[in-house]
C-alpha cells in the first residue's frame, strides 16, 4: 500500500495552501475535479486578494506546488480509523493508501431547497445559487427570467448582481429586515436594478412542470421562471462523520467553518500544513 506522511483531501484554496506549507514531507493532494481551485473556479466576480477574479486568483495560488503530488480526478470515498483512505481515480479506479496525518479541506456545500420548509410543487427551474453560478460562469448559461433569489448572503448578492448585469429581472427575498452578506458585496448592487423584498421568505412554489411563481410569506405572489436558493452553506464533513476527533486529523477552510474571505482560508490552510509537518 502506498504511504504518505500527509493526505490532503480537497484541492480548493484551503487544501492548496496546506500543501504548500507542508514542506519536506511526502504529501498527496487529492482533488476530485480535473483542476485545482474549488469554489474559486466558478467565481467570475472580482474581489479576491484585492481585485482578482476567483479564476485568476486560483491560477496564482496553484503556482509553486511543484514538490507536492497532486492527484486530480480523484475522489476520496472513505477514511478509516486505521489511517487508511479509499481513493477513486477517473482512469485507474479504486485504491487504498495509508497516511500519518490527514488534512480535510473538502469545503462546504449549499443547503438545498429540499431541506427548507417550502410547500407546493417541485418543478424544474429551482437551483441552488452556487449551481447557477457554475452554470453561468463555466457553461455560458443564462437563467430564464424573472429570477427570484432566496437569501441575501454573499452568494445571493453576488448572483443578484451577475443576473441583473445580464438584463434579466431579478428579485432578492430576505427574511431579515436588512440585506445580509458583507458590505462590499451589498455594494455590488449599486446602480443595478434589483428588486428587494425584506422581512419575507418563500412559502410555496407553483408550477407543475416549469416554475411559474412563488408565494411569499407576506402573501405576495411573484411570477418567476427561476428560483435560486441561497440560504447558506453547510460544512462538508461527511467523510469524517464516523471518526471521533482523532489526533491525526485537522480540518481547514470551509469544511472547518464557512469563511467569507479568501485570506482567512489561506491562513487556515497554511496553519494546517504547518501542524501536519510539526508533529
Amino acid at each position: 500500500m502506498e504511504h504518505y506522511d500527509i493526505l490532503i483531501v480537497g484541492g480548493g484554496a484551503a487544501g492548496i495552501s496546506a500543501a504548500k506549507s507542508a514542506k519536506g514531507k511526502k504529501v498527496l493532494l487529492a482533488e476530485r475535479e480535473e483542476k485545482l481551485g474549488g469554489i474559486l473556479l466558478q467565481c467570475a466576480h472580482r474581489g479576491f486578494g484585492g481585485d482578482l477574479s476567483g479564476m485568476e486568483y486560483a491560477a496564482t495560488l496553484t503556482a509553486g506546488l511543484d514538490n507536492v503530488k497532486v492527484s486530480l480526478n480523484t475522489t476520496v470515498l472513505s477514511i478509516n480509523c486505521d489511517k487508511t483512505a479509499l481513493l477513486s481515480q477517473k482512469d485507474s479506479g479504486r485504491r487504498k493508501i495509508s497516511f500519518s496525518r490527514l488534512i480535510l479541506a473538502t469545503g462546504a456545500m449549499e443547503i438545498a431547497a429540499g431541506a427548507l420548509p417550502i410547500a407546493g410543487d417541485r418543478p424544474k427551474g429551482v437551483y441552488t445559487a452556487g449551481m447557477m453560478q457554475k452554470l453561468v460562469n463555466c457553461q455560458g448559461f443564462a437563467p430564464d427570467g424573472p429570477v427570484v433569489i432566496l437569501g441575501s448572503g454573499d452568494i445571493g448578492l453576488i448572483m443578484a448582481a451577475a443576473i441583473a448585469k445580464m438584463d434579466i429581472p431579478v428579485t432578492l427575498v430576505e427574511k431579515e429586515a436588512a440585506l445580509g452578506g458583507m458590505a462590499r458585496n451589498r455594494r455590488r448592487l449599486d446602480g443595478l436594478s434589483v428588486d428587494m423584498v425584506l422581512n419575507s421568505t418563500v412559502a410555496e412554489i407553483f408550477g407543475e412542470r416549469e416554475l411559474e411563481a412563488v408565494l411569499l410569506s407576506s402573501g405576495e405572489k411573484l411570477p418567476c421562471k427561476t428560483l435560486l436558493v441561497a440560504v447558506g452553506l453547510e460544512c462538508d464533513r461527511k467523510l469524517i462523520r464516523k471518526l471521533e476527533n482523532p489526533e491525526w486529523l485537522r480540518l481547514c477552510g470551509n469544511c472547518e467553518r464557512v469563511h467569507p474571505m479568501i485570506e482567512s482560508v489561506i491562513n487556515d490552510g497554511t496553519q494546517a500544513g504547518e501542524w501536519a509537518c510539526g508533529i
Binding site: R32, T75, M109, P117, G130, M131
Partner: protein
C-alpha cells in the same frame, strides 16, 4: 401500423409487471406510457412498504394476494436484483381505541394465515425500538413486513420485460381506442398501434382509458399525502413504525433500503397534484416528535403523493382491488391503491393470464425472469453524496434513461444531501454525450 398481440397502457409498477408477466407467454407485447419514464405516477410517491396482509378483510382479493406476495417477495427481489429489506414492523398505539384497532388487525392477520404476528406491550416494543415514545402502550409486531424502493422494482420489471422481447413506447400518450376486427386501434399522440388485447394499467386515469371504448361505472377521486425524507446518517428505528392514534391513522416511518427514513402522513385533501402542503408537513413533524421524541429531524427533501380513491356510481368507495373485464380481450386495473406495490407481481400475473387465455397464447419456454442491477462502477465519481460513478450513469442511459431524473431513479444520483446541486450539470453533460444514438 405496428401490430402486437397485447398492449399495456400505463407504465406504473403495475403496467411494468403486467408487461413482464406477458413475456411468460408466446406473444408480442408493448407498453405505452405518456411520461418520459416509467413509474412517474402514483408509483413515484408511495410508502415503499411490503405489507404483511393484516390490514385487509379476510377473504378479500387484497388479503389473499398480499399475504402470498409478501411470502414470495424475497424471491422476486433476488430474481430482479432489487434491494429488499424484511425489516419487520410495529404498529403502535397510545390509547384504548388504538389498542382495539391493533387487536382487530391481529385477528384479521391470523384469519389471513399470518404466522409470527404478535401483540406486545409498550415496554417490549421499546426494547425492540428504544427510540419509541414512552406513551406507546401496545404494539402489533409483524416480522414479515418489509420495504422495497417502488420505482426500482418497477424499472427492474420493465427492464426484464424488454430483455425478454417486450417493447416500450415512452412519451406516448393514448388519446383514443377504436374497436376493430379482431382487436383495437390505439390512437396515440405519436402513432397508431394495433393490438389484439389491452391491459389497462393507467392508474389514476384507468377509468378514462376504459371509457375510450367501453362504459366504466367506476370513478376515481383523488386525495393526497405528504412525505418527508431524512438524511441517511441520523439514528433511526430499524423497523417500520406505524402510528395508530385515538382519532385514526397517524404517520408511518419507514427505514428505506437506501438508508433514509421516509415519513408520511395520513391522507389529506388534494390541492394541486403532487404539491406538498405546509400544514401537512408541519403536522408530520409534530406527530413524529410525539412518536419518536429523540429522532433528529434532519429533513433533506419533501414531496407529496396522489392517492386514487375508486368509487362506484352510487358514491360508495371500493375497498378491494378493482379489476374489470368489459370485454374478453380488455382488462383494467382501476385506481389500485395500497397494497398495490406489494401485489404488483401478483396483479401483473393475474391480468397477463386473462389476456393470454383470451389470445390462446402458450407459455414461453424462453422466458428468463432474471435481471441484473447496474453494477459496473468505475473510478470516475460523479455523484459525491452517494459515490456514484460515470460508468454506472452511462449504463443507465444504455438501459433507457433519457433525463437527469431517469438516471437518478436508476442509479441513485442526486438522492443525497446536496440533492443534485453538485452533480446535475455533469449528468446532463453525460446524457448529452451518450443519449443521441452513441450507445
Amino acid at each position: 401500423m405496428k401490430s402486437y398481440d397485447a398492449a399495456v397502457i400505463g407504465g406504473g409498477v403495475l403496467g411494468c409487471f403486467a408487461l413482464r408477466s406477458l413475456c411468460r407467454y408466446r406473444l408480442s407485447a408493448v407498453l405505452i406510457e405518456a411520461q418520459a419514464d416509467v413509474c412517474m405516477g402514483v408509483t413515484r410517491a408511495n410508502s415503499a412498504i411490503v405489507y404483511a396482509g393484516y390490514d385487509n378483510k379476510p377473504g378479500s382479493l387484497k388479503a389473499r394476494m398480499c399475504v402470498r406476495a409478501n411470502r414470495h417477495f424475497h424471491e422476486l427481489c433476488s430474481e430482479l436484483d432489487v434491494p429488499f429489506s424484511r425489516c419487520g414492523s410495529l404498529m403502535t398505539s397510545c390509547g384504548e381505541k388504538g389498542n382495539a384497532v391493533l387487536e382487530k388487525k391481529y385477528r384479521d392477520g391470523i384469519a389471513n394465515g399470518l404466522e409470527g404476528l404478535e401483540l406486545i406491550s409498550g415496554d417490549k416494543a421499546r426494547k425492540m425500538e428504544p427510540m419509541l415514545s414512552r406513551d406507546v402502550q401496545s404494539a402489533l409486531y409483524a416480522p414479515m413486513t418489509g420495504t422495497v424502493n417502488p420505482w426500482r422494482l418497477g424499472i427492474a420489471a420493465c427492464e426484464n420485460a424488454v430483455q425478454n422481447g417486450a417493447e416500450l413506447r415512452l412519451n406516448t400518450k393514448l388519446l383514443a381506442i377504436k374497436e376493430t376486427d379482431g382487436g383495437y386501434i390505439l390512437h396515440t399522440d405519436r402513432e397508431d398501434i394495433f393490438c389484439k388485447a389491452v391491459i389497462n394499467c393507467a392508474g389514476l386515469s384507468a377509468h378514462v382509458v376504459q371509457r375510450m371504448v367501453y362504459p366504466c361505472a367506476v370513478s376515481i377521486e383523488k386525495d393526497a399525502a405528504d412525505f418527508l425524507v431524512m438524511d441517511r446518517d441520523i439514528e433511526k428505528p430499524s423497523r417500520i413504525i406505524f402510528q395508530e392514534k385515538e382519532d385514526g391513522k397517524g404517520i408511518t416511518a419507514v427505514p428505506c433500503t437506501e438508508g433514509n427514513l421516509l415519513v408520511d402522513s395520513a391522507p389529506r385533501a388534494m390541492t394541486r397534484p403532487y404539491a406538498t402542503s405546509a400544514e401537512g408537513i408541519e403536522s408530520i413533524k409534530k406527530q413524529l416528535t410525539a412518536l419518536l421524541p429523540e429522532l433528529e429531524q434532519d429533513i433533506i427533501r419533501t414531496f407529496a403523493a396522489l392517492r386514487p380513491n375508486p368509487h362506484s356510481e352510487d358514491g360508495r368507495s371500493i375497498n378491494d382491488f378493482c379489476i374489470e373485464t368489459p370485454a374478453p380481450g380488455f382488462v383494467s386495473l382501476i385506481g389500485i391503491k395500497t397494497p398495490g406495490l406489494t401485489c404488483a407481481e401478483e396483479l401483473g400475473r393475474y391480468v397477463a393470464g386473462i389476456c393470454a387465455e383470451y389470445l390462446q397464447a402458450p407459455p414461453n419456454p424462453a422466458f428468463d425472469g432474471h435481471r441484473q442491477a447496474i453494477d459496473c462502477a468505475d473510478g470516475d465519481i460523479v455523484c459525491l453524496c452517494e459515490g456514484i460513478s460515470r460508468a454506472e450513469i452511462v449504463e443507465s442511459i444504455r438501459r433507457g434513461a433519457r433525463t437527469v431524473e431517469a438516471v437518478k431513479r436508476r442509479v441513485g444520483t442526486g438522492m443525497g444531501r446536496c440533492q443534485g446541486s453538485r452533480c446535475e450539470i455533469k449528468i446532463a453533460q453525460i446524457l448529452e454525450t451518450y443519449s443521441n444514438g452513441t450507445l
